[in-house]
Amino acid sequence: MDLSEHDPLIKIKNVHFSRGSKLIFDGVNMDIQRGKVTAIMGPSGTGKTTLLKLIGGQLRPSSGTIEVDGENVHRLRHKQLYQLRKKMGMLFQSGALLTDISVFGNVAFPLREHTKLPESMIRHLVLMKLQAVGLRGARDLMPAELSGGMARRVALARAIALDPMMIMYDEPFTGQDPISMGVLVRLIRLLNDVLGLSSIIVSHDVQETCAIADYVYLVSNGKVVEHGSPKQLADSDSQWSQQFMQGMADGPVPFHYAAKGYAKDLLGLEA
């Protein structure tokens, strides 16, 4: 499989997805390039996390295709899908560390599950990965003893344990203090470049994300509304990207959740 360097790593074609009666994606198209940091941004509740789960094959689109590294994720058999997932790392919003084992055990977990490496080798690898995120000293702590930022770094070390070709970050910056935010921003960019990964960041933190992203997709109402480099988007005259990039309260995304008329509502009149 000698795919060209310029062939996108992930091709998302006309994906529709709905949860219950609520339509989440209404024809999404994206190309995610190899070796780049691609950001997917949009207001909360637009299903950005859902998109990552679709790429990871945990959810199935109602129509459309998603190809990762030339393979249609939703056509794969169970075994092949698991094989593909070994090449994907994912960083969950909460970190999703296993709470009953230590930091060391968490990072060692994928290695122990998928490889038959001797324990001394696993120790080396785990310490290397922990060193990369700066937490080698925290190896014996339990997940409950970690701060939110540290938990995310441990999860990052775990995500790179199997040397994947890509990492998906689900809201990596939410709820972080400025210092750990800075650490994470630096780590994501650094790992991407040093390990030659492809990164996908799902976020609504405009500044931090734009600082490290090579390419940005803006998603709203189940569609890609804008895409381009961060600079292009900032300069864009589209109302939509202006509202989002500058954080204005009202605009194409209305301040008010859809409701009947205010006056009628207050007077208790049935619409």
Binding site: I101, G105, A108, F109, R112
Partner: protein
Amino acid sequence: MHISRSIEILVGFFVAIGFVAMFFLSMEVSNLSSANGDEGYDVTARFENVGSLKARAPVAMAGVTVGRITSIKLDPDSFEAIVTMNIEAQYDKLPFDTNASILTAGLLGEQYVGLEPGGEEEVLMEGSELELTQSALVLEQIIGQFLFNNESE
């Protein structure tokens, strides 16, 4: 992932105690120690009336349990009850003319089959039938007879 030695030991104890309890139930509580399962031989006997005799009731000779009732059926032609009993293999020298009667353990106790040895040389084997039987005493009939006899005097 790495479970400590003490957990493994405790699990080992737990499983061992479970098996000890199982052994206790089989040997001390149940009849496994005395009866050797299905071994033994089946003999039948016909009774006019079995009273409240039930399957699994003991078969005793001289007060010692030597077997168990396996089934009780009605013969559709003679309207007699056919009782099949399993006698333990170690009691293989019961005379052929052994006599069977249905007795009651105590006043309100369970009914069982009591065997009285006969004098023949030939012994009971698989499928033999006990010819001499005595039916259960049914309390109502005894009381009825008693009253009837009193009246006639």
